[in-house]
Symmetry: C2
């Protein structure tokens, strides 16, 4: 298979356009949304590798830095958490995986007007963030996938750290080849990178084997506490500040927990309600197929996607829990789910 | 990409040979090892589909039937759990994913001498089980992967139930594209099937979202009980008969639990010891990379692979736990792991 054959027809023009846009840049800030996840970090790293191969000066900016579980991941250069002392005077920016300017971090958002910007994303919206060029493809599984096509259009082989960066983004945003966005294109791209030495098994191992003792204990307690509602169609679990403290666990240790509850047989909606203060709680909802938890979240002022949504409730846990379960029940009633 | 291009060069001759062997069969028992897992069931189903497309009579035999979590999976015909009343007089057998005759189930093992047998497997050993033809490829990720190549060599499109069967085997034996056997070949094959309509996201959802309430409660208790040994390099968890009873959980609800313990940061070896009777315990070991738990298991009369091994100890839990931890420590000492 020719390298450029890996770029799906529908993405070819965009990839070529972006490769050209990259060639026109220099003194570049490369950045994604704040609190970068694996796709944001992977896309940023991939953009850095492409710029480096083109001989450009660039700096990586991430607010407030990469999360601890990505410590193993090698970025192309220092990760700057401020723009106060840049290594050069930035003239351009490549913006990645970020639907809206506000999510770039305050410093970078304020600088945008004075920069030549190129924007690449797979989230809906944000089409206009690049003043020089925009490439927004909601059918792509990951922004890193789009960066792979930019690299291929720039005639770079998908090997070494570039391939690892792309694989990181793909693995993150497909849930490890689990979600419905795991397209044939994504699998062909991954197959090609594995064929050329990318060790996805090692990458997944490093991503997934980072449980702390506190996380293990916390999950243990919460799995026992989770309760079924509405004849088993809803699984609900409240999490108190006290739980985190007692287990020496962090908020981030809850990541993935609501998905775990959704795995219960018969459960249509999984809901986790986390206490943030005596008068504020954060909720996360997950569902399958046609069940729309975004609609349930919207009733409470939250948002998200059909199968993954969330929001904040200004109430104590008891009241917030009642509101949350009522909103879910209303949505299930509206959809006719027993 | 041409369909036959999907067959790696190293597997072409074998696939052609097996396609021819299938053409020579009729009145066929299709079977894998007892207590079939996803790869065994997937390979059996795939072989049934190939035989059906060739106009052959066949029956699926599985002892003691498929596990409950595969209820959703559509087999090509009734799953026979005995050979006492076959729908035809069996003349031939296709044996899949089974390293030794004993693991076929007593009835079928006893019948082997009177049958024309073809054997396809990716486990080491068992090379001689087919008296008409053998194809054993330890570098294949799954027996279902080999069946895909047989189907392609027989000029069948990898679509519909045939593709689902192959994907089931691949997903099972690669741990959801997690393990080191997730080769480029496996990914190209999966990409091709997804391109032609195979819904791997739905398949994974059905495979993974089958937790019972009892399983959730059991894991909750055990996650809290798991303890670190040897300065955090070993995570050990004993499971008593009483635990299963109290949580209304089954032995099979422990599946995946030892892998979960291995995800703890810093843990080299995860060990679960399950009480089967007051004087017998079963142990499961998992490790990463170079750490050889097969060697530790062998010290106790067990076996397995380098990173996944197990066995049975004729002792009570206390004594068995001490023996197990000593064997692991001995192995880690031998390998120089602090």
């Amino acid at each position: 298979m020719q390298r450029t054959d890996l770029i799906p027809q529908k993405f070819r023009q965009g990839a070529e356009r972006m490769a050209q846009a990259f060639r026109d840049l220099d003194q570049v800030i490369v950045a994604a949304h704040v609190n970068p996840d694996g796709d944001a970090a992977g896309a940023v790293a991939a953009a850095g590798h492409v710029l480096r191969s083109m001989g450009k000066e660039f700096m990586v900016y991430a607010q407030p830095g990469l999360p601890g579980y990505l410590d193993f991941f090698s970025m192309p250069g220092v990760v700057h958490t401020t723009l106060e002392h840049p290594p050069f005077k930035p003239r351009c920016a490549v913006l990645l995986d970020c639907g809206e300017p506000d999510r770039l971090g305050r410093e970078l958002a304020a600088r945008l007007p004075e920069l030549v910007t190129v924007n690449i994303d797979h989230h809906l919206g944000g089409d206009g963030m690049g003043n020089a060029a925009n490439w927004v493809e909601p059918t792509a599984a990951a922004t890193a996938q789009l960066m792979a096509y930019v690299a291929l259009a720039a005639d770079l082989p998908l090997t070494g750290e570039l391939a690892t960066a792309i694989a990181l983004g793909i693995i993150t945003d497909t849930g490890g080849f689990c979600h419905g966005n795991t397209s044939a294109d994504v699998l062909y791209l991954t197959a090609h990178m594995v064929e050329h030495g990318c060790d996805i098994a090692l990458l997944r191992e490093r991503l997934e084997n980072t449980w702390s003792r506190g996380r293990l204990t916390l999950w243990g307690q919460l799995l026992q506490r989770a309760r079924l509602e509405r004849a088993g169609s809803v699984c609900f679990c409240p999490v108190f500040l006290e739980d985190l403290r007692k287990c020496s666990a962090l908020k981030e240790d809850l990541e993935g927990f609501v998905e775990q509850l959704r795995r219960l047989r018969g459960v249509h909606v999984a809901a986790v309600l986390r206490e943030d203060s005596p008068s504020s709680c954060k909720f996360s909802l997950r569902s399958y197929g046609s069940i729309d938890v975004r609609a349930a979240a919207a009733r409470l002022g939250g948002g998200g996607h059909r199968n993954a949504a969330g929001g904040t409730l200004r109430a104590d846990m008891e009241s917030a829990g009642a509101q949350l379960l009522a909103a879910i029940a209303e949505e299930l009633d509206a959809e006719g789910v027993a």
